[in-house]
Assembly symmetry: C2
Homo-oligomer: 135 residues x 2
DNA sequence: ATGGACCCTGTAGCCACTACAGGGTCAAGC
DNA sequence: GCTTGACCCTGTAGTGGCTACAGGGTCCAT
């Protein structure tokens, strides 16, 4: 069981050192033992836990969702229904965000498409932003 | 020229009062004159400006982009090329975000699809999050 | 013994608001 | 004229998820 410094953990998971300390502060990572020189001393379990966190964060789960997933992952004999629920909710949220962004893109593309590249006074983009006319 | 309170402005633009004060604080809205009782007194120009801001924000422009757009909108005899550039950059950014989210959705949907709804120990979602095996 | 790479704590900053607390003002109704 | 309640004021702190210092300590190789 290898002794890992916070820098080792950072390198192996692609996380910044400050972020790891932040995860510890908010209780996402356990408080690790310290060396004589007061350095955090990690082992492979924390490496695994941090990998899990990073992967979940990369998939867009919020910190609170990650916290719930970690709790669930530890209760290995329970049904994974709760896991499914969290993931499903997150998927729905992502779908919604995609739909919102697509609508936004279409609207913005439409606004840009009407630009005749003349003076600002005739700019359709500006006009589209100020639809009440410029008193 | 009607005198508008901050609450009137808020109602007419769908903005919260606090947000309007925030916009003033960061210099996006001009400091308005005050009534005897120290209330902000707006007119239709500020209403128009705030509508512009809200619409640009709704289209996802950042505060800094809105600031630039407002500056440009005031220089009515210049070419609107700069406006086009800002809008184009923003459109590209949105496209990128959509692509990122779609990739995310596909990956997450895949992870969820592999779930066999058994115990957490065999949960494919948890496994997918901790790809290095469980110590 | 010295240099540089690493580690420590604590705090402040980022974005774009939002939410108070603790007060003042104003208009309507009695 | 007094009360009530809706509105307004300032100032500060919180949100999420980090990130970036400042100002110091530790460790290891030379």
């Amino acid at each position: 069981m290898s002794r890992l410094t916070i820098g080792d953990l950072a390198k192996r998971t692609g996380t910044k050192v400050e972020t790891i300390r932040y995860y510890e502060r908010i209780g996402l990572l356990p408080v690790p033992p310290r060396t004589e020189g007061n350095y955090r001393a990690y082992d492979n379990r924390q490496l695994g836990r941090l990998s899990f966190i990073r992967r979940a964060r990369d998939l867009g789960f919020s910190i609170e969702q990650v916290r719930d997933l970690l709790d669930l992952a530890d209760q290995r004999d329970r049904s994974c229904e709760a896991v499914d629920v969290i993931a499903g909710q997150h998927l729905a949220e992502i779908e919604r965000k995609i739909a919102d962004l697509v609508a936004l893109r279409d609207e913005l593309a439409d606004v840009i498409g009407r630009c005749k590249h003349g003076a600002v006074a005739d700019c359709r983009i500006i006009e589209a932003l100020a639809p009440h006319g410029s008193d």
